[in-house]
Symmetry: C2
Subunit: 244 residues, 2 copies
């Protein structure tokens, strides 16, 4: 396995900036298990792989692999502590939006861990497409990929002007709001589009105008709110009880 060059180190460090990843249309992924699995599932998307420990023959023979010292890994990682494997992948190609399929809509999710977890949970429950407001964190952010456990590579995620999108869809829209109807009383078969709002502020007044059915998860304790990815998980679980 060839040793990583100083030039490559500089190039990978340049990819820590979103604008450079966007220009090259690549995604940085870190972690032994995650990089290995994504390389196996999406071999055509692998650009190159960087390892500070032994890696499988299969990775070495199929992909462009480079050996790094631990010190070099610490230089190229985006995280506080480096893993032993870093992969650079080509951005998965955008998929076509299917207007007849269920849609999860996210407004202004800021935390990459939350977006990643929501994508993973949606993938678990068979949701295939997510529409995000343009101020939602980028789905190719490394922490999103990381916490999605790779589901971000499978999910169709679109960034849209939500007001225009919901207008255009012209169907009933369910949204997570305080003082809505109890989720348990909502027929999951009726849900076509579900909107979840920002971590602190929820769904904005502008987008609330498009919500036809406000829905709430009743609380019985003292916590002020639920984390947005937990709330989304509960909504998606309820939605998964539908017969379609």
């Amino acid at each position: 396995m060839e040793k990583i060059s100083l030039q490559k180190i500089k190039w990978i460090k340049s990819l820590h900036l979103k604008k450079n990843r966007d220009k090259e249309k690549v995604v940085l992924v870190e972690g032994l298990k995650l990089v290995s699995e994504l390389a196996i599932q999406f071999p055509s998307l692998v650009h190159s792989i960087y390892a500070s420990s032994d890696i499988t023959e299969s990775l070495q023979t199929n992909f462009d692999c480079y050996q790094c010292s631990e010190n070099e890994m610490e230089r190229i990682t985006q995280f506080y502590s480096a893993s032993t494997l870093l992969g650079i992948f080509h951005e998965p190609a955008a998929k076509a939006f299917n207007p007849t399929e269920r849609v999860l809509v996210l407004e202004g999710i800021q935390d990459p861990g939350n977006l990643g977890t929501i994508i993973r949970t949606a993938d678990w429950f068979g949701i295939k497409q997510i529409v995000c407001s343009t101020d939602t964190v980028n789905m190719f952010n490394s922490k999103v990929i990381q916490s999605s456990m790779g589901s971000a590579f499978r999910m169709s995620v679109f960034y849209e002007n939500l007001g225009e999108f919901l207008q255009k869809m012209n169907t009933v829209v369910h949204g997570a709001l305080l003082n809505g109807d109890n989720l348990a009383d909502i027929d999951p078969n009726e849900i076509k589009i579900l909107v979840m709002g920002n971590e602190g502020k929820g769904i904005s007044p502008d987008i609330q105008k498009h919500i036809n059915q406000a829905v709430t998860i009743p609380g019985y304790g003292q916590a002020e709110s639920l984390n947005v990815s937990i709330a989304t998980g509960i909504f998606l679980y309820h939605w998964s009880q539908s017969k379609s």
Copy 2:
């Protein structure tokens, strides 16, 4: 407001180590909103407060407050980026375990963000006590407090030998396992004790012996698993449908 002394800075930095916090029986909390809210809700637990920005009169008159420069905040923070407010609180007193009350049991949760989110979610759904295996992350870890949004101060959390605990409880035990019965088919009124397992490994074989009813959240997509805090959120939501 008195300026922070070099001695205080050294003392707070020493509290970054669990053994020193344990010795002094204190908890470090960071963040403007969280520290302010906890100080209001639990005034008797406030030891001292450190601020690099203006703080309310009420905090200043009621508590031992010290002024810090941004640079000093960066020295005392436990996190990658410092907030403008850091509070040192006395550990909330341990509460008594109530054997007739519902219990959430956690085995080997490692990630402080997961434990904090689970505590917050349990608090939302009115669960009052959590029993953790002794290898579960410490509930007074700052990241647990942070992601619990303060619910960790309200929740009764016990660290126990789980095998002995479940044996002693002598009642039906529900546990989250693959290939269990569908959660939707479980009568929430029947659940008294619910066991959730470790992030990667789930419930260990030793503890599985004590599970009388294995329960599963069916997946319909391609994700390999659900995040443990999401799964716990869904279980607690289902449990909250009980009539008790």
